[in-house]
């Protein structure tokens, strides 16, 4: 019982996973007695009615499906049958493009707001109104003005990731310690050099926190946005497989979305750690 906390936590995690998989496996065994019916009718009803099997796939089926996708992620058999890797790449591409456009806007504007009390007050009402708008509410307007579903999805990602970054940048910049600014003043540091050598490193941890929140929101929103715009992407894949009634693929996609979101979040967390300074 001298195992480290990490080791004990890992064991507990595995136990919980095993319990969950077992419960899932048992839950989808199906218990309904097989009904006697006309063979013609039985063919229409499918295996759920004829053999008493649950329509919900079990962990073994989902595992096999995930393995299938992992071994062949990039096949392309026409618009409605593409590999999971291709769909993920489309989603990731949209998220990263919209996200980086948001970075390009949010960081300079956040600096401006953080450094100028005038701009801060002048822009505050706009931010307060724009921030709570669900990004998907912009979708019709985006489709109408941009007239391209893929770019509209990117715009929606942009608009949902811009606010946390903007607000955190402005806050981090405004909260730069006065003594550090005084150091820059007594050293006659130019405004540009001050922005890059004092304010940016001082505000970096706060800015990265905002960027981490933003990437999380962007990944949440892309699934919904792609369900709306269709065509490609992991969100479209989920909806398409729902229309195919392939619950196995839906569950697979849910799992993949979760893993991808975790990778994005942990990447930003690692960058945040690298710019955090102990005081």
């Amino acid at each position: 019982m001298l195992a480290s906390l990490n080791a004990r936590a890992a064991v507990l995690s595995l136990v919980l996973l095993a319990t969950f998989l077992l419960a899932w496996h048992v839950g989808v065994q199906g218990s309904k007695p097989v009904q006697q019916m006309d063979p013609e009718y039985a063919r229409l009803m499918g295996i759920a009615a004829t053999q008493g099997k649950s329509a919900m796939p079990g962990p073994v089926e989902v595992g096999a499906q995930i393995w299938g996708h992992l071994t062949n992620p990039f096949y392309d058999k026409g618009p409605n049958d593409k590999g999971l890797g291709i769909q993920l790449a489309y989603s990731l591409g949209r998220v990263l493009l919209g996200y980086f456009l948001a970075v390009l806007v949010a960081l300079p504007v956040g600096f401006l707001i953080g450094m100028s009390p005038l701009m801060s007050r002048a822009l505050d009402p706009f931010i307060q109104v724009m921030k709570p708008i669900s990004p998907l509410a912009w979708m019709p307007l985006a489709l109408y003005t941009i007239k391209d579903s893929s770019i509209s999805a990117i715009f929606v990602i942009f608009i949902c990731s811009v606010w946390p970054m903007l607000i955190n940048t402005a806050f981090g910049v405004a909260a730069t310690r006065k003594e550090w600014l005084n150091v820059a003043r007594t050293l006659e540091v130019s405004p540009l050099r001050k922005a890059f050598t004092i304010i940016l490193p001082a505000a970096a941890p706060t800015i990265l926190t905002g960027m981490r929140i933003s990437i999380g929101i962007a990944w949440l929103v892309i699934v919904a946005a792609e369900m709306l715009v269709g065509g490609t992407g992991i969100g479209y894949f989920v909806w398409n497989e729902w229309n195919n009634l392939s619950i196995t693929n839906v569950i697979t996609a849910i799992f993949v979305i979760g893993v991808m979101g975790m990778i994005l979040d942990q990447t930003l967390a690692a960058i945040a750690r690298s710019v955090t300074y102990p005081e």
């Binding site: 003594e179 150091v183 007594t186 006659e188 300074y277 005081e279």
Partner: protein, 300 residues
């Protein structure tokens, strides 16, 4: 254009005033019509209770604040903003936590000599890091240093730009007594070696006695004024460990304590005859009253 000083002194504060808006309108005068001057190579300490505007005076000298009236002149030029000629050692050390010791000092060096190569900057910075006894710790981050070591970095950073004046805002007040003592010794040694002009705010009477050539006594604010300027009668080659053995030590210390305890409050109400704001009385508390012409004598 700011008025040009007529004073021949190296640093000359001429009739400066600072007022803060009062809650409910009007203004509180922290101080006004404040005059005093310093010679090159002199170490001055300013003593007074909180709220008398000592830090404001230092900030005006640093150029971080501007006086509402009057002018502060350094080396014949009115102060219009911060300058690399005047280095500040901050009470809170104000090191940049994301930079190493070397990085912090090098930042100041490269701000002063902008066309220097990285090697030149680092070599110059290292010289001052060695001077404050931090060789070997130059790659550490401030968070890895003790309070005294952090303040040493602050001192190295301030000295590295080779300023005309060193401004210190209670630099040792957050340190323990032993660390404070050794840093006082080092600051005195460095200032004497290089002929550094220095201006320091302190609450610590013994610190002022050990370090200062002249001690400026400020009365309580608001409407604080310079009550007098005390010349330090102790020998120039004094050592911190036996300062208190000097015959002049207790007269000087008692004079300062007496001011802090009572006269800083009452001075305003019983301004001595002939008091001139432009030329506050200069006193020299000693055991034996030596006769120095032109000086007010003060016998303890």
């Amino acid at each position: 254009m700011k008025p040009v000083s007529t004073s021949s002194k190296f640093i000359s504060i001429e009739g400066i005033a600072r007022r803060y808006p009062k809650a409910g309108g009007g203004k509180t005068t922290i101080f006004e019509d404040l005059w005093f001057s310093m010679n090159k190579g002199e170490f001055s300490c300013i003593i007074g209770h909180s709220g008398c505007g000592k830090t404001t005076v230092l900030n005006i000298l640093a150029g971080l604040e501007l006086p509402e009236d009057g002018v502060a002149v350094v080396d014949g030029r009115a102060i219009e903003g911060p300058s690399l000629d005047r280095a500040v050692i901050f009470q809170s050390h104000a090191l940049l936590p994301w930079r190493s010791v070397l990085g912090n000092v090098a930042y100041a060096v490269s701000s002063k000599w902008r066309d220097w190569s990285r090697d030149q900057v680092n070599a110059h910075a290292m010289k001052f890091i060695e001077k404050v006894g931090l060789k070997g710790s130059e790659l550490k981050k401030p968070a890895e240093l003790s309070g005294g070591m952090k303040q040493r970095v602050g001192i190295a950073r301030a000295l590295s730009i080779e300023p005309k004046i060193l401004l210190m805002d209670e630099p040792f007040s957050a340190l323990d007594a032993l660390t404070r003592g050794s840093l006082q010794e080092e600051v005195r040694r460095i200032c004497l070696e290089t002929g550094q002009t220095a201006f320091m705010i302190t609450h610590d009477v013994d610190e002022a006695i050990y370090l200062a050539d002249r001690i400026v006594l400020m009365t309580n604010g608001p409407e604080a004024m310079i009550a007098e300027i005390v010349e330090n009668p102790l020998p120039r080659d004094r050592r911190r460990i036996d300062v208190h053995k000097s015959a002049d030590y207790y007269p000087l210390r008692n004079h300062l304590m007496d001011f802090l305890v009572s006269r800083s409050k009452t001075f305003k109400d019983e301004i001595p005859a002939g008091y001139d704001k432009k030329h506050p009385p200069v006193v020299r508390p000693c055991a034996e009253p030596p006769h120095v012409p032109g000086e007010t004598r003060k016998v303890a």
